[in-house]
């Protein structure tokens, strides 16, 4: 079943599967722009190492803001490329749907009973019809856009605060707001990327179901593997840490002696991002496994089909 909202997550009707993806080019260009921004801050940082006092504090403040903005641009670029992957996945699935009946011929009889089945790629559900999306897929489809948008906004507001901090150094309150806002933004951007990966998993699952259903065979769908469950848990935990560190920095912004709090908030905010990144790695591993399963399923259909 195709939901009306899902139409926005598929290529427009009449999109040519042969065309190069404009999202790929845009993503690469944005990533290189982010690298340039981060490189500018790199030299600013090196200059700061040779300074002292207010000059150094001022330089360190703006370089922090600019570097994090550079990271945010590259992460946005990653999101743009992932969007391009989603669109191309559908076009590839259309090609398979069009071609598979000729490659398979008459599908062979499948005595596998409905229910769960063990395969070299883990447990799969065998059903007559393609199953609908899982709750996490529904959430991912809705959330990736707002997460990326809010993340970028938080980073940009943090960048402005970094310039304020640089102009009024030493300004502990501004430093606290800058760090809290920018790492909240980075956490949201990474969560947006994680939701995009969840949307890719949805697209692979839905397209796989549609292809099998169109062929008139039983639908084999991988059950949610441990890597996918851990991905969701790590992403949620990381996002919560990113929100918690932001609250921590707001509290510290009003403190007259924040050195002790800054000492644990720094690693804490980085752990938040680390957890989301660890979740992203598992999402990519899950995508690899699901693709392996789909190639295995297509091969079985071709082997068992009668093309005479």
């Amino acid at each position: 079943m195709t939901y009306a909202a899902d139409a926005k997550l598929r290529p427009a009707a009449g999109t040519d599967y042969k065309e190069a993806s404009p999202w790929r080019t845009r993503g690469i260009a944005l990533a290189l722009a982010g690298l340039v921004v981060a490189t500018i801050a790199f030299f600013g940082n090196l200059v700061a190492a040779g300074q002292s006092g207010v000059d150094q504090a001022s330089n360190l403040a703006w370089t922090f803001g600019v570097t994090t903005t550079g990271f945010a641009l590259v992460k946005t670029a990653i999101a743009v490329v992932l969007w391009g992957i989603i669109l191309k996945l559908w076009l590839r699935a259309d090609s398979i749907k069009t071609t598979l009946p000729q490659l398979v011929g008459t599908p062979g009889a499948d005595p596998t009973p409905l229910g769960d089945l063990d395969t070299p790629f883990g447990k799969v559900a065998v059903t007559e019809k393609a199953p609908g999306p899982l709750p996490i897929h529904k959430m991912a489809k809705k959330m990736f856009r707002p997460m990326v948008a809010m993340g970028l906004m938080a980073v940009i507001v943090g960048l402005i605060v970094s310039f304020v901090a640089a102009g009024s150094a030493p300004n502990t309150a501004a430093l606290a707001w800058m760090q809290g806002l920018q790492f909240l933004g980075e956490g949201m951007l990474l969560s947006g990327i994680a939701f995009l990966l969840g949307t890719i998993l949805w697209a692979i699952r839905t397209a796989g179901g549609e292809v099998q259903e169109a062929l008139g065979v039983k639908v084999y769908t991988p059950k949610m593997p441990g890597t996918a469950k851990a991905f969701v848990a790590l992403m949620m935990l990381g996002l919560m840490v990113s929100i918690a560190q932001f609250i921590g920095y707001i509290v510290v912004a009003g403190s007259s002696d924040p050195a002790s709090a800054f000492a644990w908030l720094g690693p804490f905010r980085e752990v938040g991002l680390g957890l989301i990144l660890a979740g992203i790695a598992l999402a990519l591993v899950t995508i690899g496994n699901v693709l392996g399963f789909q190639f295995w399923r297509i091969q079985n259909l071709i082997k068992n089909g009668d093309r005479s």
Partner: protein, 210 residues
């Protein structure tokens, strides 16, 4: 930028009778993503605990050399974690590319077609090169952090020099992270190219099979 490749032969390809299977980086990706992931998951909490210890040291007014050494150690371990998690992500992307290469080859072989395999595109080469450069940058910076921690702790490095080292290393680490993220973008961009190639190639197989 829309190009008009109409057949798979418009791409840079290898033609063979058998599927080519995984290439070297993909084999490496399949083997190494898990140990890298585990290493990152171990490093993050250790660094956090060290950060809390350092925070307590500051609050209780311990020696500045201890505080500086703990700062360098925390950052060194944290960025070993980041190096590992970025490596796990990169290897997982290589693993995805491997599934496309292996699966695509096997299906072409199965329908008695010549096997057309996309040659490694420039984006994939940049991905590997960028990842290697960024990994070395972050790893070296992390090791230097640990060395500086030892030096400041033993008194062979002054507090001022330790602070200068911290700022310089921060600059290097940040650049390393940027390069890593850009490399990952290139790796993902390679997937788009492979998807486009396969969308074209699979339709050609219908003609071969008839």
């Amino acid at each position: 930028m829309a190009t008009t490749s109409t057949t798979s032969s418009d791409f840079a390809i290898d033609v063979s009778k058998k599927g080519l299977g995984y290439n070297k980086p993909q084999q490496m990706g399949r083997k190494l993503w898990a140990p890298m992931w585990v290493m990152s998951i171990m490093a993050f909490p250790i660094a956090l605990i060290l950060g809390i210890v350092r925070s307590n040291a500051i609050a209780s007014g311990e020696a500045e050399t201890t505080i500086a050494a703990l700062g360098h150690t925390t950052t060194g371990i944290m960025f070993i974690g980041f190096t590992a998690v970025f490596a796990a992500i990169s290897f997982a992307i290589a693993r995805i590319l491997g599934e496309f290469r292996k699966g695509g080859g096997e299906i072409q072989e199965l329908v008695s077609s010549e096997v057309r395999t996309l040659k490694m595109p420039p984006t994939a080469k940049i991905f590997i090169l960028g990842m290697a450069m960024a990994m070395m940058t972050l790893l070296i910076a992390s090791i230097i952090h640990l060395v500086v921690a030892g030096q400041v702790s033993s008194g062979s490095l002054s507090l001022a020099d330790a602070e200068t080292a911290a700022i310089n290393l921060e600059a290097v680490r940040r650049l390393g992270v940027s390069v890593y993220l850009v490399a990952i973008t290139f790796g993902l961009a390679t997937i788009i190219k492979v998807l486009r190639f396969q969308a074209i190639r699979v339709r050609e197989l219908a003609q071969v099979s008839t």
